[in-house]
C-alpha cells in the first residue's frame, strides 16, 4: 500500500495545477458539509444540554405546540389554580410551579420594545437555578408586585443605554422597578423576557388566576413517566378534553432532537450535492490521467504488473485525492463553522454553538476516501483492462 | 474569425473528448440544477402563499393581538370590535375567536382548530368575493344557529378515520354540535382543517366571556384602505396602549411579512446549492487545464500559423464558455423537471396549491447568464496559460 501511495504522490506532483483543482473540488464540498453538520450537532447538543440541566425529575404542562404557527392566532384555554391543586394532589408530586407567559411591551426613556412577560413564584428561581443567575441586583420576592428582573438582552441590547438596577420601566404602561438583571441564558426568547412574580403578571394582564403552563417537579426521576400519564388524565377530565401537552424533559429532548436531525439532514444533503460534483471532477481527471499514461501502463504490464495491480495503483491514487481533499476540507470546514459560531452568537445568543466531534471527523475522512475510490473505479478499470501491446504502441 | 467560427471550432474541440466534456458538463448541470430547484421552490412557496393570502381579499383590515404560546399580549373583546365598527370607512366587522379544542367524533378524539364566528356576518365576510370558501355540501351558518358547525374539507375526510358529513354530530369539549355544511377543498391547510361554529357558543364552552382573537373589518367600497387602517390603529392604541401589542394589517402587509420568512429559506438553500455550482466551475477550470496540457502542440501550430495571443485566448475561452452555457441550459431543464416533480409530490402530501414551483423567465436568464460567467471565469487562467506558451516549445510537445 505504501508503494501505491508513494507512486500516487509522484503522479499527483507531476501535474500540480490539475491536482490542486481536483482536490479543491472535494475540499469545498467537504468543508460545507462539515460546517452544516457541525451547526446541526451544535444545536442538538446545546438544546439537550439545557434540557438536561433542567433535570429528569420535571414535567412540563403546556398549550399544544402544533398550532403556534400560521393563520389566525389561536387561543389556549388557560389553566386555573383549581387545575394546579388537582395536579398537586397527585402522588409522587413534590411541587407544582405555575407560570404565566405573555407577550408584552416595555417602555424605557421613551422607547418601546417587544418583550415576553414571565410571571413565576420566586421559588421557581431555586428550581431553575442553572438557568437563572444574576448579573446585577437581586431576584423579586413574592410580595413585590411592582418589581421586575430584566433578561440580559432587554437590559443590554434593547435600548441605547443599559438599564440599571433601581431604575424604573413601564411594562404594558405600568410602572415597575428594576431590581435585577439576569445573566445571559443563551436563547433569544428567554433573554428578551422580563421576570416578575406570578401575581404581578396576572394582575398586569387582568387575567385573574390564569396560568399558562405548569412545571411539575416529581419526587424522583423514576416516577416521572407514570406521573405524566396521571397528569394527562386528571387535566383531561377537568378541562373536558385533551387540549394541552404533557411532556417529560426526556420527551422534550427527543422532540427537539428529531427536529434538529431533520434540519441537519436537509442542510447537509443540499451541501452534499457539491461533493457529488467533486466526485465527477475526480473521475474526469483520472480518466484523462489514464489516457495520458497509456504508454506507462503498458510498461507497467510489460514489467510484470497484473491487471489487479494496475487497478490498485489507480484506485489508490483517486482514494488519495479524496483523502487529501477530506483532510483539507475538514480543516476548512472547521474554520468555517467557528466563524459561523462567532456570528451566530452575536445574533442569537451564547447558546449557539457548532461542534466538530470525533464522529464528524472520522466520518468526513472516511467519506472523502470513499468518494475518491468510487469516482476512480471506472478509470482504474479502464487502466487495468488496457492491452499492453496496444498501450506500448500509444503515442 | 467570426464568433461562429470560434463556436464551431470549440464544438469540435469539445467533441474530441466526449466523455471528458460530458463529465465537465455534468458538474455544471448538477450545480445549476440544484440552484434552480432551490430558488424555484422558494419562489413557488412564496407564490402559492401569496395566492392563498390574496384570497383574503383586498377590502379587509385584520386586527389581531400579538401572540405567543397561545396567549395574547392584549385582550380584544366585543367592545373593541364595536369600536372598530364605528370607525369611518368600515362597512362592518366580523369578530372571531379561534381556539385549539378537543373534538370528538364517534369514538375518536383529536385536537382541532375551531373558529368561532358570528353567523350573520360569516357568509358576508368569508363567502363573498374570492375568499376561497365554497360549499361542497350543505349550507353556511345562519342567524339562529347556535350549536351548528360547518367544517373544512380536511376535517370532513382526513382528521378522523371516518368521514364526517352533513348531519353528523361532533362533540367539542363535550358539547354536541351538528354539522350543517362542508367546505370544498381549498388547498390551504389552515382553512381545510378547521371547524367553524357560532362565536358565542364557542366562547361559552371555553369560558372566555366576550374575548376575541381576530377582528376582520370590511372596508367601504371606495374608501382608502390604508387610511382606514391607520384610523383603526390609532383607535386601538388609545384603547389598548402600546402599538407593539397588536397588529392592524391589510392583506398587503400580511403577504409582505410572510414573504420575508420565505426569502430567508430561499437564500439559505439557494446559497448551499450555489456551492455546488462553484465546484462545477472548478471542474470547468480543471478540464480546461487538462485540455491546454494536451493541446500544447496544437497551440504551437495555432501560433505558428499566425494566431495572435488574443485569438488563442478567445479560442480557449469559447471552449469554457460553451461548457458553462450548455451545462446551464441542461441544468435549467433538469431543475425544472425536479421542481415539477416536487410540486406533484407536494400536491399529494400537503394539499394542492400548497407548493407550486416557479421557474420564471427571469430565473432562466439569470441561470444562463450565471453559468456563462462561471464558464468564462473558470476558463480564464487556463486560457492565459495557453496563451503564454512559447510556440517553439509548444511545437516540440
Amino acid at each position: 500500500m505504501i508503494e501505491e501511495v508513494n507512486y500516487a504522490f509522484r503522479n499527483m506532483a507531476e501535474a500540480k495545477l490539475r491536482t490542486v483543482l481536483t482536490v479543491l473540488g472535494i475540499v469545498i464540498g467537504i468543508a460545507i458539509v462539515v460546517a452544516m453538520l457541525a451547526i446541526g450537532e451544535g444545536m442538538r447538543v446545546s438544546i439537550t444540554e439545557q434540557l438536561d440541566a433542567l433535570g429528569g425529575d420535571k414535567i412540563i404542562v403546556t398549550p399544544p405546540q402544533a398550532f403556534a404557527l400560521r393563520g389566525a392566532p389561536t387561543e389556549f384555554k388557560p389553566f386555573t389554580s383549581a387545575d394546579l391543586r388537582a395536579v398537586k394532589n397527585l402522588p409522587s408530586v413534590k411541587d407544582v410551579l405555575p407560570m404565566f407567559y405573555r407577550p408584552g411591551t416595555i417602555e424605557y426613556r421613551g422607547k418601546s420594545r417587544e418583550i415576553y412577560v414571565m410571571g413565576v413564584e420566586s421559588r421557581g428561581v431555586d428550581y431553575f437555578r442553572q438557568f437563572y443567575s444574576l448579573r446585577e441586583g437581586r431576584f423579586f420576592t413574592d410580595r413585590e408586585l411592582r418589581s421586575v428582573d430584566l433578561g440580559y438582552r432587554v437590559a443590554e441590547k434593547f435600548f441605547d443605554e443599559r438599564v440599571r438596577v433601581g431604575e424604573r420601566v413601564k411594562i404594558n404602561q405600568r410602572s415597575f422597578e428594576v431590581v435585577g438583571v439576569l445573566e445571559e441564558i443563551g436563547n433569544p426568547e428567554d433573554d428578551s423576557s422580563v421576570y416578575m412574580t406570578l401575581k404581578a403578571a396576572q394582575d398586569l394582564y387582568d387575567a385573574g388566576d390564569e396560568i399558562t403552563m405548569l412545571w411539575v417537579i416529581a419526587e424522583n426521576e423514576a416516577a416521572v413517566r407514570t406521573l405524566a400519564k396521571k397528569i394527562e388524565n386528571t387535566l383531561e377530565k377537568r378541562r373536558g378534553g385533551r387540549d394541552f401537552e404533557v411532556l417529560t424533559t426526556e420527551q422534550l429532548a427527543e422532540q427537539v432532537s428529531t427536529v434538529v436531525t431533520i434540519v441537519t439532514f436537509v442542510l447537509g444533503g443540499i451541501a452534499g450535492i457539491s461533493i457529488l460534483v467533486g466526485g465527477v471532477i475526480i473521475m474526469n481527471t483520472m480518466l484523462t490521467s489514464v489516457l495520458e499514461r497509456t504508454r506507462e501502463i503498458g510498461v507497467l504490464k510489460a514489467t510484470g504488473a497484473s491487471n489487479a495491480q494496475v487497478l490498485r495503483i489507480f484506485l489508490v491514487e483517486s482514494a488519495l485525492i479524496g483523502a487529501v481533499g477530506g483532510v483539507l476540507g475538514l480543516l476548512l470546514g472547521t474554520g468555517l463553522s467557528r466563524a459561523i459560531e462567532v456570528a451566530g452568537q452575536v445574533y442569537i445568543g451564547s447558546s449557539f454553538i457548532t461542534i466538530v466531534d470525533v464522529e464528524l471527523v472520522t466520518g468526513a475522512l472516511v467519506f472523502s476516501v470513499l468518494v475518491g475510490m468510487v469516482s476512480g473505479i471506472y478509470p482504474a478499470y479502464r487502466a487495468a483492462k488496457l492491452d499492453p501491446i496496444e498501450a506500448l504502441r500509444y503515442e | 474569425m467570426a464568433v461562429l467560427d470560434y463556436l464551431i471550432f470549440s464544438l469540435r474541440n469539445l467533441s474530441h473528448h466526449k466523455l471528458r466534456s460530458f463529465l465537465t458538463l455534468l458538474g455544471v448541470i448538477i450545480g445549476i440544477m440544484a440552484v434552480v430547484s432551490m430558488i424555484s421552490i422558494g419562489s413557488g412557496m412564496k407564490a402559492s402563499l401569496k395566492e392563498q393570502l390574496e384570497q383574503l381579499g383586498s377590502d379587509k383590515v385584520f386586527i389581531l393581538p400579538r401572540m405567543a404560546y397561545g396567549t395574547a399580549a392584549v385582550t380584544l373583546s366585543d367592545d373593541d370590535a364595536d369600536a372598530v365598527a364605528r370607525v369611518p370607512g368600515v362597512a362592518f366587522v366580523s369578530p372571531l375567536y379561534s381556539v385549539a379544542g378537543d373534538v370528538a367524533y364517534r369514538n375518536e378524539r383529536k385536537i382541532v382548530k375551531i373558529y368561532g364566528v358570528d353567523p350573520e356576518k360569516a357568509e358576508a365576510t368569508f363567502g363573498a368575493g374570492a375568499s376561497g370558501y365554497q360549499l361542497l355540501k350543505g349550507r353556511w351558518l345562519q342567524r339562529g344557529d347556535v350549536y351548528k358547525a360547518v367544517i373544512g374539507y380536511g376535517v370532513h375526510d382526513d382528521v378522523f378515520s371516518r368521514d364526517i358529513n352533513v348531519g353528523s354530530v361532533l362533540r367539542i369539549h363535550g358539547v354536541e354540535f351538528q354539522v350543517v355544511g362542508v367546505f370544498k377543498k381549498t388547498g390551504d391547510r389552515e382553512k381545510d382543517y378547521t371547524i367553524y361554529a357560532n362565536l358565542d357558543a364557542v366562547r361559552e364552552i371555553f369560558g372566555v366571556g366576550d374575548r376575541v382573537t381576530l377582528i376582520i373589518a370590511r372596508v367601504d367600497k371606495g374608501a382608502d384602505i390604508e387610511e382606514v387602517r391607520q384610523r383603526i390603529e390609532r383607535l386601538l392604541e388609545d384603547r389598548k396602549g402600546s402599538k407593539e401589542n397588536f397588529f392592524v394589517m391589510t392583506q398587503k402587509e400580511i403577504i409582505e411579512r410572510v414573504g420575508e420568512a420565505y426569502r430567508v429559506v430561499q437564500v439559505v438553500f439557494g446559497g448551499l446549492a450555489a456551492v455546488s455550482l462553484i465546484v462545477g466551475a472548478v471542474g470547468i477550470a480543471n478540464t480546461m487545464v487538462m485540455n491546454v496540457t494536451e493541446r500544447t502542440r496544437e497551440i504551437g501550430v495555432l501560433k505558428a500559423t499566425g494566431a495572435s495571443n488574443a485569438q488563442v485566448l478567445r479560442i480557449f475561452l469559447t471552449d469554457a464558455a460553451i461548457l458553462g452555457v450548455a451545462g446551464g441550459a441542461a441544468g435549467i431543464a433538469l431543475g425544472y423537471l425536479i421542481s415539477l416533480s416536487i410540486n406533484m409530490a407536494a400536491a399529494r402530501y400537503l394539499g394542492e396549491g400548497m407548493l407550486t414551483t416557479a421557474v420564471t423567465p427571469e430565473l432562466v436568464v439569470f441561470a444562463l447568464g450565471f453559468s456563462l460567467i462561471i464558464g468564462v471565469v473558470a476558463g480564464i487562467y487556463p486560457a492565459y496559460r495557453a496563451v503564454r506558451l512559447d510556440p517553439v516549445e509548444a511545437l516540440r510537445g
Binding site: N11, V299, T303, Q309, I389 | -
Partner: protein, 228 residues
C-alpha cells in the same frame, strides 16, 4: 527447450481490416541460446516477440514458455509468468519518466512482491553491473540514450528471468552506444540467459548463433552457428 512454438497463427484487427501477422510459425529455442529474428517491416517480428514474451496469446497454435502453454493462461497468470520468466528491452526504452533509475529497475520486483529493502539493494547491484552505479537517482531525462537503454536492461534483469527479449534495442542509439548495449546483452547471454533479439540491422543480427528469417508471417529460414 525454453521456448517452443507450434504452428502459431496470430490475426488481429486494425480497424476494419484483419491482419494476418503470423501465418503458422513453428520454432524451438533451446535454453541459453542467442537468437536473432530478422525480416522486413510487416514480417511479423514484433508480433512474434510479443508472443514469446507472454505479452499476447496466439490466435491459433501453441506457445510454450519454459514448458507452460500460454494460450490457456488467464491475464493474471500470464502476468505472473511474464514477471518470472521474461525481461523486456524496447527500442524506445520505455522507462517511466517520473521515477529515478533506481526506481525504474525496482519496478518489476515491486510487482513480484519483493520487500522494499531487498528491491533497492538488488536494483543498486544491477545498475552497478551495467555501469551506472553513479546514476542511481537520476531521472531518465537526465540520462543519455545509451544510459537509458542500460537502465532498461538492468530493469529487464530485475526478477532474474530466463529469457531476455530485446526489440530493436539499438534502434534509437548512435553507433558507439549501440555497440555498448549489444556487448552488454551478449554478456548476459554468456551468463546463461536466453537472448532473443529482433533487429533489422544485419550486422547485429549476424552475431547471433541462431538466426531466424521472417517474411510475411512465415519463417523463411533458420541459420545456425557462426557469430560470437
Amino acid at each position: 527447450m525454453v521456448i517452443k512454438l507450434e504452428n502459431v497463427v496470430k490475426v488481429y484487427r486494425l480497424g476494419k481490416v484483419r491482419v494476418h501477422a503470423l501465418r503458422g510459425i513453428s520454432l524451438e529455442i533451446p535454453r541459453g541460446e542467442y537468437v536473432s529474428i530478422m525480416g522486413p517491416s510487416g514480417s511479423g517480428k514484433s508480433t512474434l516477440m510479443n508472443l514469446i514474451g507472454a505479452l499476447d496469446r496466439p490466435t491459433g497454435g501453441r506457445v510454450y514458455i519454459d514448458g507452460v502453454d500460454i494460450s490457456r493462461l488467464t491475464d493474471d497468470r500470464l502476468a505472473v509468468l511474464r514477471r518470472k520468466k521474461v525481461g523486456f528491452v524496447f527500442q524506445q526504452f520505455n522507462l517511466i519518466g517520473k521515477l529515478s533509475a533506481l526506481e525504474n529497475v525496482a519496478l518489476p520486483m515491486w510487482f513480484a512482491g519483493v520487500s522494499r529493502s531487498a528491491r533497492v539493494h538488488r536494483a543498486k547491484q544491477l545498475l552497478e553491473m551495467v555501469g551506472l552505479g553513479n546514476r542511481l537517482h537520476h531521472k531518465p531525462a537526465e540520462l543519455s540514450g545509451g544510459e537509458r537503454q542500460r537502465v532498461a536492461i538492468a530493469r529487464a534483469l530485475a526478477n532474474d528471468p530466463e529469457i531476455i527479449l530485446a526489440d530493436e534495442p539499438t534502434g534509437n542509439l548512435d553507433t558507439s552506444s549501440g555497440m555498448a548495449v549489444i556487448q552488454l546483452l551478449e554478456k548476459l547471454n554468456h551468463m546463461g540467459k536466453t537472448l532473443v533479439v529482433v533487429t533489422h540491422d544485419p550486422e547485429f543480427g549476424r552475431r547471433a548463433r541462431m538466426r531466424v528469417k521472417l517474411r510475411d508471417g512465415l519463417i523463411r529460414g533458420i541459420d545456425r552457428n557462426g557469430g560470437t
